[in-house]
Symmetry: C2
Subunit: 332 residues, 2 copies
DNA sequence: TTGTAAGCGTTATCAC
DNA sequence: GTGATAACGCTTACAA
């Protein structure tokens, strides 16, 4: 019942272990008839190489960890950010025939396990999605000699190469569009201050408004729909004359839409709303949501691509920034 | 730069490899002062055990694969089914200190890789979510001696233990509710015929209607919103007098809602709609969607729980069925 | 309680 | 081309 080993295949084929190993690994330096024999024995016995043994000697595992520093609940809320990243990453890894190992790291225990797992040689490289605060793990891995690429500029100084979308440009487009269409009191629903995406988008919003001598009106959410709804109520309380809102995520924008409807404000006539992400749902809100599209899937592909280059021994850019795009639908 | 080995720790602590191994694995049979020394050496060198080496001898990996026989695109559409499963599974595995390895198997190449990966001893056990058709992989793994648990009754004969929700009961509740509230021409938007959930829900629908001498009106989708929209148009074309629809997924129900609005039918006044899943979005459709709630997260937990029991050498029930619940909101 | 030594199943380096 | 043989880093009888 236990799995056959190289040894057993060798015996059956009447050759040495070394030869079987060569055949299994596709070496061309084996005589055709012998290769035949070996392959037959492999098939008959249902031989599959033991990866632990192999990686013990090769020092490779051909698998890559994607660490999502979030609880599963958060990763799979109906925010499509993480799914998009995962999708992009798995496409790129599949093409390179690497196995993706997804790690949801939402608790201290999970963090410890992830650290041991990645430093313990289970994977050849590590990808981080959406690092919270100044997580020391990426740096630690780098020092341990494990290739790492992060999604999003790490908070704090860091040597770790990263890939991000053009947060600044996206926000600038959105807010300028609101200004250009005559909006005068533009609030924002910001993301959490411990995430770069939250910080960057808020900074960008503030800068644009400052540049045109308008004041910032800020409420803070955590990228969820509920937080967006609450933040919108807050904004309306703070400034009833508000005529536009930029929400740092589509989910929060959706929540804002609900709050506005409850408050009896018409969208976009009285208040314009622009989100960020362009998740699929944005087309289905009522009315359909204008938003800043970020190429999430491509972000994932690029992330994986950079890591693969590192694994191949190539140099990579310390930072790569992908473009965003303003998508105007009906909310603003 | 290469990672320190047990040997190096042993030298530094002035003891043997065996002793270090004992300390690292938490054996109590080591004198306290020596344990201290070893721990210090471990910390100083930043030692982390090499998992390949360990699992080569222990024949365990402490990781579990969750195979999703879908493309990443499909898994992370905004259907919350897979995310819920993943969430439940990762909670249960986290509690047992096992590492979850998520495998998206949406292409033949990915399937081959998954087969090699799981039979190659990378994981101690395998979980399958939503098996398509009569996939032979679960059986194959079972024969290889690797513990397997499936989500959903496998199509075709199978020895593999599974966990499912009460599809029948859920559908029965929904359709009876429609009948009880006076609906007379009840159509259904079925799921894909190669998935058990699709087949089971359609069968259940047919049975209830047959029992009350009403005829079935069926259109087939593939669980996506778009397919639901198309199927609804189909149903309206087939039977303009339709006064209710049971959709085999919330996403398809959402698509149906759009199609109904476009066709100028009021929901629920003219046409009632009931979905299946109770994904978060169901509360946010317009009007909020009535649906059959299935305990997806608990399904994931149970799935993992059964596998953990198998790994512990216990016997498990060949089938486990979790209850569903009808949630009435405003569409029917 | 601690150390010695024999594997675990591969790959890689040699000779032949 | 093919076959011994030595690692790879760890756990675990068995000895001491």
């Amino acid at each position: 019942m236990s799995r056959p080993t190289l040894e057993q295949v060798a015996r059956r084929a009447g050759v040495s272990r070394a030869t079987v190993s060569r055949v299994v690994n596709g070496s061309t330096r084996v005589a055709a008839p012998i290769r035949e024999q070996v392959n037959r024995a492999v098939a008959e016995l249902g031989y599959v190489p033991n990866y632990a043994a192999r990686s013990l000697v090769t020092q490779r595992t051909d698998s890559i960890a994607l660490i999502l520093p979030e609880t599963a609940t958060r990763v799979f809320s109906d925010d499509q950010f993480f799914p998009g990243i995962i999708r992009g990453v798995s496409q790129a890894l599949e093409a390179a025939d690497k196995q993706l190992v997804l790690m949801l790291v939402g608790s201290p225990a999970a963090r410890t396990r992830a650290e041991r797992y990645t430093t313990g040689g289970h994977v050849d490289g590590v990808l981080f999605a959406s690092v919270h605060g100044a997580d020391p793990l990426p740096e630690l891995l780098l020092r341990t000699g494990i290739p790492v690429v992060c999604n999003g500029r790490p908070l704090g100084r860091s040597e770790v190469p990263y890939v991000d979308v053009d947060q600044n440009g996206g926000v600038a487009h959105a807010v300028r569009h609101l200004l250009d269409s005559g909006r005068r009191r533009i609030g924002t629903i910001a993301g959490p201050p411990d995430m770069v995406a939250g910080v960057d988008r808020l900074d960008a919003y503030r800068k644009i408004l400052a540049d045109s001598d308008r004041r910032s009106i800020v409420a803070v959410g955590d990228f969820t729909r509920e937080s967006g709804e609450a933040a919108m109520r807050q904004l309306l309380a703070d400034d009833p004359g508000l005529d536009a809102v930029f929400a740092a995520s589509d989910l929060m924008a959706h929540g804002a839409l609900r709050a506005l409807r409850e408050a009896g404000r018409r969208v976009p006539e009285e208040v314009a709303v622009i989100g960020f992400d362009d998740i699929e749902m944005a087309r289905y809100t009522d009315p359909p949501l204008s938003t800043v599209r970020q190429p999430i899937e491509r972000l994932g592909q690029t992330l994986a691509g950079q890591l693969l280059r590192l694994l191949a021994g190539e140099e990579v850019e310390p930072a790569l920034v992908l473009p965003t795009e303003l998508v105007i639908r009906e909310t603003g």
